[in-house]
């Protein structure tokens, strides 16, 4: 079955949430866990599950995505048949409808790609989800249940969640779907925005969407059809972090410092693949004091680092003190600087003796290329 499956990954979430780290890159390429981009997790699970035909739907400023995935070589997705394709927005002069305002627009612009493919099943997935999922098992479940659409969900009790929630009957069929009401403390089946569709059904729905001007994927494709189609839920039981805001990123980054979570994400059989950059190993100086931190290659560390995630090529000078920080590629923290709960984007320089801080619930973000 999995050989008859293709996957379309959305490089954006099409939600209203803003994320400073995704202002000049796609959400898919937000850096994570020292050397990865968010999309690496979805791509690695797909490769592990032998889904060899992957299209990435883009919206705007997808340069970082093209740069990161390239030909797909680092994921073993540079293939003669299938492999990885970046599907760019399809716009004709003066056409308003194909400007990728929504997931449906994005799917409409690659309708041709879908029609021409031989696969029977389509996985639609957001690329901002950090998890290892067995897509082969998901598609098998979809087929076994005789479902038209399968929705991946997780039972969670997040304090703040306003996305889609589903209720199922005993057989796993979705009987209700609605938006969560902000604050909730009970466990609920939160939708992870990974779906399996029968391809013919998806094309059919897209045809209608074009005719009737539908724009809301969840409302028009899912909730409207609960009674008409057989929609099933598939529970993801393992670790999962959906990264929309900077706060989500910070929380998930700190979770990577927990051995059990890190082992599950990186050592449970799915190698997380990413672009290989050939950085030399990290060099520790005489004055370095490091505790409970995740540190990538290519760094030079001579300061104090506690509970941090340090990306490739970061320099931390003697006397600099970092606590609970996420420091992204090629940033330099000069001597005597003190940072707490700070996220620096790529290429940031913090000058000597500067003191900065945020709160665990609201980390202070320094944007790309800035010098403080």
């Amino acid at each position: 079955m999995i050989s008859k499956t293709l996957c379309l990954l959305f490089s954006e979430s099409y939600s209203a949430v803003t994320n400073e780290l995704a202002s000049d890159r796609t959400l898919a390429t937000v850096p994570f866990a020292g050397r990865y981009r968010l999309i690496d997790f979805a791509l690695s699970s797909l490769v592990k599950s032998r889904v060899n035909n992957v299209g990435i739907l883009t919206k705007e400023h997808y340069g970082s995505l093209v740069d990161h995935v390239g030909s797909g070589k680092d994921w073993d997705l540079d293939r003669k048949n299938g492999g990885l394709k970046i599907l760019t927005p399809f716009a004709t002069p003066g056409s308003e409808t194909t400007r990728n305002r929504s997931k449906i627009d994005a799917l409409l612009s690659c309708q041709m790609y879908l029609e021409e493919s031989n696969e029977e099943y389509v996985i639609l997935a957001d690329s901002n989800i950090v998890m290892n999922i067995d897509f082969a098992d998901l598609v098998r479940y979809h087929n076994d249940k005789g479902a038209d659409i399968t929705i991946v969900y997780q039972q969670r009790s997040d304090a703040v969640y306003n996305g889609l929630v589903i209720d199922q009957d005993r057989d796993g069929r979705v009987v209700d779907a609605y938006y969560a009401a902000g604050q909730m403390s009970d466990r609920q089946n939160q939708v992870l925005k990974v779906f399996v569709f029968n391809k013919d059904l998806l094309l059919n729905l897209l045809g209608r969407a074009y005719t009737f001007g539908w724009t809301d994927f969840e409302r028009d494709f899912i909730t409207k059809n609960i009674n008409k189609l057989r929609i099933c839920g598939y529970e993801h039981k393992g670790y999962c972090a959906v990264i929309n805001t900077v706060g989500d990123l910070y929380k998930a980054s700190m979770e990577m410092l927990t051995p059990a979570i890190r082992k599950e994400v990186f050592e449970s059989g799915t190698t997380i693949l990413t672009r290989v950059k050939n950085s030399p190993p990290t060099l520790y100086g005489f004055e370095s004091k490091v505790k409970n931190s995740l540190i990538a290659d290519g760094c030079v560390i001579d300061g104090t680092v506690e509970n941090c995630v340090i990306f490739r090529g970061v320099k931390i000078e003697k006397g600099a003190v970092l606590k609970d920080c996420v420091i992204m590629q090629n940033s330099t923290i000069h001597s005597g600087a003190k940072l707490e709960c700070v996220i620096t984007d790529k290429d940031v320089t913090v000058q000597p003796e500067h003191v900065m801080g945020g709160y665990p619930t609201y980390p202070f973000v320094i944007s790309k290329g800035q010098t403080v």
């Binding site: 990413t274 290989v276 190993p281 990290t282 060099l283 004055e287 490091v290 995740l294």
Partner: protein
């Protein structure tokens, strides 16, 4: 139709490297790991690519499996090319029989057909056992400028060291008039680095003549160079003044690893303009736990560290448990150092396990008689059981269990 090349490189990677003992029991010397995430062969291969050479023949013979698998299609070095790229060239059979590579010159002789395919003006001969960063394009420019038949890269060594090397005796204009292999009383301090650029037509003729001589040992240093000198060809020395180290012995391999920790050594991996490429698996960043202390050390991705580490080089995926102590140690990929184990002045190869409380190697200052001390070596996959001691200079065989 292959395109004519200005220069192609031939990399001699067939040697066993017997002075690396247990480290080369199962792999050829060029495939020995170095510096956290590299193998020795990454240095000449990366130098080639960085110097604009896109065709490299790698001559293998001894234990080629690891090397073949490592080089693969050459993609990590950007040597997967439409015209050229990297080729692994093992000895082969012909209608006249089959022969191993008898010597360095014979290895090239047996691959004359390969070189002729590219019809190169010049051929660069390299060996796979040196750690250095060198721009061969500058050497080629020098070779062309001097219209030499052969250009030999040399390093100015000290008088004491000179008798360990092949020495080039030169005229003031750097033309070579004599080659002496490991002379007792050296006349010059210009040591051959084992890097040659030959005019291909002239080398081709010399190789054929050398092969016809049954008494020849078919070696570049011993036969080809003296033969060309005797024939009145212009051979010239190209002086190199950067970092260069022959890592053919346990102590020199350990030294070269330690040089990475010394900013004054001249060996730096992170200089951006001359990257050393390696085939690497995707590992997560390394994790430093609560009890760890690390100073003056190199740590590679995938490691999990909770012990104390000084002056050491850790390769990918090494685990150092709480209470373990490492001092001046080189620990290769996937090795586990368990609780309370001590590793000092040692090289531990891949996939080894040093169990709780075991001791490997010791500090030279505990050995007043220097001849009793040396680097301790644990071979690939070996297990050093709980509380066992591996003394300095001792070598533990691969997959041993003690």
């Amino acid at each position: 139709m292959t395109q004519k090349k200005d220069m192609i490189a031939m990399l001699l990677a067939g040697g066993q490297g017997s002075r690396l003992y247990v480290l080369t029991k199962e792999v050829a010397k060029p495939a020995v790991s170095f510096g956290g995430k590299y193998k020795i062969i990454d240095f000449p291969l990366s130098n080639c690519v960085n110097s604009g050479i896109d065709t490299v023949g790698v001559l293998t013979q001894y234990r080629p499996l690891e090397l073949n698998a490592y080089i693969g299609n050459g993609q990590p070095w950007d040597l997967d090319r439409m015209n050229g790229g990297v080729f692994v060239l093992p000895p082969y059979q012909t209608d006249k029989g089959s022969e191993w590579y008898k010597g360095t010159a014979n290895a090239i002789y047996q691959n004359i057909n390969f070189i002729d395919r590219y019809d190169p003006e010049n051929v660069l001969i390299l060996s796979g056992d040196h750690i250095y960063k060198m721009d061969y394009s500058k050497m080629l420019a020098y070779h062309k400028e001097n219209e030499a038949a052969a250009t030999i890269a040399v390093l100015n060594v000290s008088m004491e060291e000179a008798s360990r090397f092949g020495i080039m005796n030169c005229n003031p204009d750097h033309t070579i008039y004599e080659f002496e292999e490991k002379p007792k009383h050296p006349k010059s301090t210009l040591a051959s680095m084992g890097i040659y650029i030959f005019n291909w037509k002239k080398l081709r003729a010399a190789l054929i003549a050398d092969e016809a001589d049954p008494k020849s040992s078919n070696d570049f240093g011993k036969n080809i160079i003296p033969m060309m000198l005797a024939g009145g060809e212009k051979l010239i020395a190209y002086e190199f003044d950067g970092y260069w180290k022959d890592v053919g012995t346990i102590s020199s391999l350990w030294d070269a690893n330690m040089d990475l920790l010394n900013p004054e050594s001249g060996l730096q991996l992170d200089s951006g303009d001359w990257k050393i490429y390696a085939r690497s698996e995707a590992h997560p960043p390394h994790y430093i736990d609560e009890h760890a202390e690390i100073a003056e050390s190199i740590v590679t991705e995938g490691c999990e560290i909770d012990g104390k580490i000084w002056y050491s080089v850790l390769f990918s995926n090494v685990t150092v448990e709480e209470g373990a102590e490492l001092n001046s140690a080189v620990v290769m990929s996937n090795t586990v150092i368990k609780k309370g184990a001590t590793v000092k002045y040692a090289i531990i190869a891949e996939d080894a396990i040093i169990e709780e409380g075991a001791i490997v190697g010791d500090d030279p200052c505990n050995y007043p008689d220097a001849s009793e001390w040396g680097i301790a070596v644990v071979g690939r996959g070996a297990i050093i059981k709980k509380g066992q001691v591996v003394r300095p200079k001792e070598m533990i065989e691969p997959d041993a269990n003690r």
